[in-house]
């Protein structure tokens, strides 16, 4: 927001400022005493808006209070000389504090207590003497270190505080203690509020005093006093921050003022005071959140004073006053909106600024009609000199009321002086400033057309104030979009050429003769003076040059030459010679000017109606890699061979993008031999990319990689550049792909086998000479069977003939497929190699992991091992050796391992797996390298409990017709004896001896042996007699027992024929 233009109608600052209760602080030495300074700063500086509405004033010893006027007992013979005294407000807001607070350093237990209390009392007395006559309150604040407890809990303190009060003759509630230890700010705010209370009390007392005068007044002679007293009441209430009461009193004052008789001699005073009162009223209404009432108040105010014009000789003063009423209101409205009041399209500050501008226009009209005579300021004595005591009074007749006769000659001189001042006043600046304020508000409140109207008015005003640029207007007038009669364009062009040649241009045809002479004088004094170079910014204007620049490509490589084509069309019928043009290009690092040349010459010639094409070439700056180049503007220097030059700066964006709709282009008639100017699309931004890099890479590895191995990859970089490259660095990193996101989490890169390194891995290569090469070996280890993508980012420097130390970057990638080396499956079999689906505690069985090789590369199995979960143990007393140790396998081979284990107990939860099967392996080709350990979890086997154990001893091979023993041992495993009923199922292949059907008791933790002799009758694979058992009585383990006997008894025995000798 532009600041308000000022003139004599300005409101004095004391009217505009928000009144704050004045509190004097005495006894603080803020210069020499650090604690005092801290206290003063806490009171007075950085006041936040939520703190009490008070203003602190530091009183030193020499401060003098204004002298009190003797009290008037009777108003009978008193005739007021004016309405509002100019110094009254000033006194209230800066010279007469409501409270004076004496700050005094004193501890309650001070050793020199008696001396201190006397000194303090005397200081209070001297303050009392100083404020003599004013009702200003006095308070004492004792500054203490904060060690001693408050007087209420501390006998000595309470006693001494009482003594201090009586010595200083103050009430106990006017004594404060300020500990300056911690929480100073908190104490300060509490003190401040206490002082504020006292101040409000004081102002209330003052209002009572004024109200007492009311009875003595009469309406005939004291009309002014009715206004004055109500104003004072309003102001005191404002100091008290009682806004609605303040408003009431100001309203009374305003209405009383309306009743005064207005004549030419007091009109200025009345309307000045009315303006102040109205300002106060509106301000309070906004503060009370009554914006509608504020607007209504302003309207009625203007309505009432609209016709109180005063003397016609000073008509302009009336309009100046009205304008000020509007602008001040606009400012108040604006402040209210900033404080949160919502404005609307039909009611916002812009309107009031607009009115202010309109009345300033009227003011100027009035000036033109009444001030024509005032060509000279009256001399020798200045009629406007002199001090005035009241707002709005005239210096040449101070303090006179209307009845007095006045000096007509002096009056005349004064009016002349005022008229002269008005004549020299710059109305345009004021109008423009008001319009500026209004325009910004209309823009905010969605009124584009209203704003446009005001902008036009503003332009008019600039024109009136003759604030324009001859060259710029002349250049703009030659534009094909501006219609002036054609020979007029010729005249304008001639004038431009004349100015370039340091000659005075011809006069404008339709200006009056005396203005012509004036213009001639002005030209003569300026024609060969500085500034000789005139820059015309073509952003907002069009002219006889149309320009379209374009980069030939949207991207340029670092080592390419950037080319800009510039098409220039001269639309005015003439030939321009000796034009220098240059192009301004900006990049991230710099802005450069590039001269535009044609056929090697820098001086260009432009012909009317023809489109010329110029080519501008330059090398990009090495620092601009990856950034954009942008055409800022194109400058044409007219008269480059002359002393005076005109620079036309054609800006980017606006001017280049002519607003012709593409569909309309077909209607434009342009000669075919021209470049198709209208169809040329400007391109003002290009990007600079890295130079193409001439390196090649050769990658060697034995892909696919196997999961878990450190897979070596060797790559060789060959320098195919024509120069050696140096400072080469390679950065290896993993790229994520859709099937392999977050590769870093499972994949490692390293330059050394078996050692992890943080990624990305940096390799410094250094210099590679022309057509030589350099190799790098790196290892990759991954636990995921997916394709790993490795990026090799190569950066290096190269010295080219045209650019030295050019940095180049090239990215290479390679994909490495990772597969599983083998698959492991498991089967469980009983000791007789029958597949089993469960095992019994203490009953050995065999785990058979089968390793199916998937790797296309031959592998060598270094070792294997079964890591069992807790509930299993090896059946042998020590860990058996792996039976496939050292085996070499090829693709599709299956290596089977076998480990005999047994369950120790039945765990509570069924284990999810038997254990981990660890395979240590390596590639056969890499015999010296490290082995890789792969672990596979083997699936689980349910464990069951059986109350008896069973062992069967039998020969696996027998001869026919030979008796062999078959021993069966039953072991009791529970705490109870178990009775079994056993039957023997005989077969045709055998005869046997022993009990066929009987019952046996297996005692707890003991064994029973059952011995049979079997006698095979036939040869071949035979099923021997089998025992079957059922538990007598208890049925819980029936099935288990049955299963146990089925599993353990041999299914077949091979019987050999007898060898006959």
């Amino acid at each position: 927001m532009a600041s308000q233009p000022s003139d004599y109608t300005d409101f004095p600052p004391e009217i505009i400022l928000k009144p704050l209760a004045l509190i004097g602080l005495s006894g603080l030495d803020a210069v020499n005493n650090a604690i005092h300074k801290e206290i003063w700063d806490a009171f007075a500086n950085n006041r936040r808006p939520d703190r009490a509405s008070v203003r602190f004033k530091l009183l030193n010893n020499t401060f003098e209070f204004p002298v009190v006027k003797p009290k008037r007992n009777s108003y009978e013979w008193y005739i007021p000389k004016g309405i509002l005294k100019k110094n009254w407000i000033q006194k209230r807001i800066s010279y007469i504090p409501a409270v004076v607070v004496l700050f005094y350093d004193m501890e309650w237990n001070d050793p020199q207590w008696n001396e201190k209390i006397i000194e303090c009392a005397s200081k209070v007395q001297s303050i009392r003497a100083a404020v003599e006559g004013h009702a200003t309150r006095v308070a004492v604040a004792v500054i203490q270190s904060g060690q001693s407890p408050p007087p209420s809990e501390y006998m000595l303190g309470a006693e001494r505080a009482q003594a201090l009060c009586s010595a200083c003759e103050i009430q106990s509630k006017s004594l404060f203690v300020l500990p300056h230890s911690d929480h100073l700010m908190g104490y300060i705010i509490r003190l401040e509020n206490a002082f504020y209370d006292i101040a409000q009390n004081y102002y209330h007392h003052e209002t009572k005093n004024i109200k007492q005068h009311k009875d003595h007044l009469n309406k005939t002679t004291h009309q002014y006093l009715f206004v004055r007293h109500q104003f004072k009441l309003g102001f005191y209430n404002e100091l008290k921050q009682d806004l609605s009461t303040a408003h009431k009193h100001y309203m009374h004052a305003y209405n009383n003022l309306l009743e005064t008789k207005v004549v030419d001699t007091n009109i200025n005073e009345v309307r000045t005071v009315a303006g102040y009162l109205n300002y106060k009223l509106c301000k309070l209404l906004f503060a009370l959140n009554l914006p509608r009432d504020a607007i209504a108040q302003l309207k009625s105010h203007i309505e009432r004073y609209r016709n109180r014009i005063g003397s016609t000789e000073l008509l302009f003063e009336h309009y100046a006053w009205v304008s000020r009423q509007y602008s001040a209101f606009g400012e108040l409205f604006d402040e209210a909106i900033k404080a949160g009041l919502p404005g609307i399209q039909s009611q916002h500050p812009g309107f009031y600024y607009q009115y202010a501008a309109q009345f300033t226009v009227k003011r100027r009209q009035a000036m033109r009609s009444v001030c024509t005579e005032a060509t000279k300021y009256p001399s020798p004595s200045d009629p406007l000199e002199g001090l005035i005591e009241f707002y709005g009074q005239r210096p040449w007749r101070p303090g006179r009321i209307s009845a007095d006769p006045h000096d007509p000659q002096r009056e005349q001189a004064a009016i002349l002086a005022l008229q002269y001042n008005e004549r020299v006043f710059n109305h345009s600046m004021m109008i423009i400033s008001y319009l500026g304020c209004a325009i910004s508000h209309f823009k905010t409140f969605h009124s584009p057309r209203m704003r446009k109207q005001l902008v036009v008015e503003m332009a008019n005003e600039y024109y009136y104030s003759a604030d324009y640029d001859y060259i710029q207007l002349s250049i703009e007038a030659l534009s094909k979009y501006i219609q002036v009669p054609n020979n007029d364009k010729d005249r304008i062009f001639k004038n431009i050429i004349l100015v370039l040649n340091l000659n005075i241009p011809g006069p404008e045809p339709d200006i009056p003769a005396h203005s012509q002479n004036k213009a001639l004088e002005a030209w003569q004094s300026a024609i060969d003076k500085e500034p000789l170079v005139i820059t015309v910014d073509m952003v907002n204007i069009s002219s006889f040059l149309e320009v379209k620049p374009r980069f030939k490509q949207q991207h340029y490589r670092m080592d390419e030459t950037v080319e800009v084509e510039i098409y220039v069309k001269l639309t005015y019928v003439t030939v321009l010679e000796a034009v220098i043009a240059f192009l301004t290009v900006s990049s991230a690092s710099e802005t450069i000017d590039i001269p535009i040349s044609h056929d090697g010459k820098n001086l260009l010639t432009l012909e009317s109606g023809k489109v010329k094409r110029f080519l501008c070439q330059f090398k990009p700056n090495p620092h601009d890699r990856g950034s954009d180049l942008c055409i800022k503007n194109i400058s044409f220097i007219l008269g480059s061979d002359k002393k005076r030059k005109i620079i036309m700066k054609v800006e980017e964006n606006k001017t280049f993008e002519r607003t012709i709709h593409p569909e309309l282009l077909q209607f434009i008639h342009s000669p075919k031999m021209d470049y198709e100017f209208d169809s040329i699309v400007p391109l003002t931004v290009t990007s600079i990319t890295s130079r193409e890099c001439r390196l090649s890479i050769n990658i060697q590895n034995a892909s696919p990689a196997l999961q878990g191995e450190w897979f070596p990859t060797n790559f060789t970089i060959t320098n195919n550049e024509n120069h050696s490259v140096y400072n080469m660095k390679i950065t290896l990193s993993l790229l994520s792909s859709p099937d392999n996101p977050n590769p870093e989490s499972v994949t490692e890169l390293s330059l050394k086998e078996g050692e992890s390194q943080t990624q990305p891995v940096n390799v410094t290569v250094g210099t590679i000479n022309k057509s030589s090469e350099s190799s790098v070996l790196f290892y990759l280890k991954t636990n995921r069977t997916a394709t790993a993508t490795v990026q090799m980012k190569v950066s290096y420097f190269i010295d080219l003939p045209e650019i030295s130390k050019l940095e180049c970057v090239k990215d290479f990638t390679t994909q490495i497929t990772v597969i599983k080396p083998f698959e492991v499956s498991t089967s469980f079999v009983a000791t007789n190699f029958q597949p089993i689906t469960k095992c019994f505690v203490d009953n050995p069985f065999i785990v058979m992991p089968q390793i199916k090789i998937l790797s296309p590369w031959d592998l060598s199995i270094v070792d294997t091992e079964l890591e069992m979960v807790d509930c299993f143990v090896y059946s042998d007393s020590e860990k058996p050796q792996s039976c496939i140790k050292g085996l070499e396998v090829a693709e599709k081979n299956i290596a089977s391992d076998a480990i005999c284990i047994q369950a120790k107990y039945k765990p509570k939860d069924i284990p999810t797996r038997v254990g981990l099967y660890n395979i240590k392996w390596k590639r056969k080709s890499n015999a010296d390298g490290q082995f890789i350990m792969s672990s596979t979890a083997l699936s689980a086997l349910p464990i069951d409990i059986c109350p008896i154990g069973l062992e069967v001893n039998y020969p696996e091979v027998v001869e026919v017709q030979t008796s062999v023993p078959l021993k069966c041992i039953l072991i009791g495993k529970s705490h109870k004896p178990i009775r079994l009923s056993i039957t023997v199922e005989g077969t045709d292949f055998y005869m046997f001896s022993g009990y066929k059907k009987f019952s046996v008791t297996v005692p707890p933790n003991d064994r029973v042996e059952l011995c049979y002799n079997i006698h095979p009758l036939l040869t071949g694979n035979t099923t021997p007699p089998r025992l079957k058992a059922t538990i007598i009585g208890d049925n819980l383990y029936q099935e288990v027992i049955k299963e146990l006997f089925e599993n353990i008894f041999p299914q077949n025995i091979f019987v050999l024929p007898k060898y006959n000798k």
């Binding site: 399209q345 009115y355 969605h446 009124s447 584009p448 057309r449 209203m450 446009k452 109207q453």
Partner: protein, 155 residues
């Protein structure tokens, strides 16, 4: 008494601007045009807010045609009061009264409403002319005469 009546097309191009008054100088002609032009700010604001109000609650139902075509007082300046009216085809009528003349200052809202309705009827008659191209300026002398009459008599 109305001092100016304007018919404005749906894309805000002026179709007709007629003014009467004691001063017929180009200055007052220009200020009249400004008045009508700036009234479009308020008009458009009203239309856009009316639109959003209508469509917001239940967008499925078609916009009710019950909307009052008469928009009432758009804004007022020291000298003039400006009223607006929008037809269903978005043709805007602007009527400007002078608040300084005795007949204009005490004008009732209902009178303005009637006048604008009559203007609507006159406009409808004028564009019924088969030789009139919609969207073109209205150059009918009859229309001009009738509008001037309307400004003088009715309001």
């Amino acid at each position: 008494m109305a001092v100016c009546v304007a018919v404005i097309g749906k894309d805000n191009s002026p179709l007709y601007i007629g003014g009467i008054g004691s001063d017929t100088g180009s200055d007052s002609e220009l200020s009249r045009q400004w008045l009508v032009h700036t009234a479009l700010d308020a008009l458009e604001e009203r239309l856009s807010s009316a639109n959003s109000n209508n469509t917001a609650p239940n967008a499925t139902t078609p916009r009710p045609d019950l909307r009052d075509l008469y928009l009432g007082l758009l804004y007022s300046t020291d000298m003039h009061k400006i009223y607006g009216f929008v037809t269903n085809t978005r043709i805007k009528f602007v009527l400007v009264t002078s608040s300084t003349s005795p007949s204009g200052s005490n004008i009732r809202d209902a009178e303005v409403r009637t006048a604008l309705r009559r203007l609507h009827a006159l406009y409808a008659d004028a564009i019924c002319n088969p030789f009139h191209l919609p969207g073109e300026q209205i150059i009918s002398q009859k229309f001009d005469k009738q509008v001037k009459n309307l400004m003088l008599n009715n309001v």
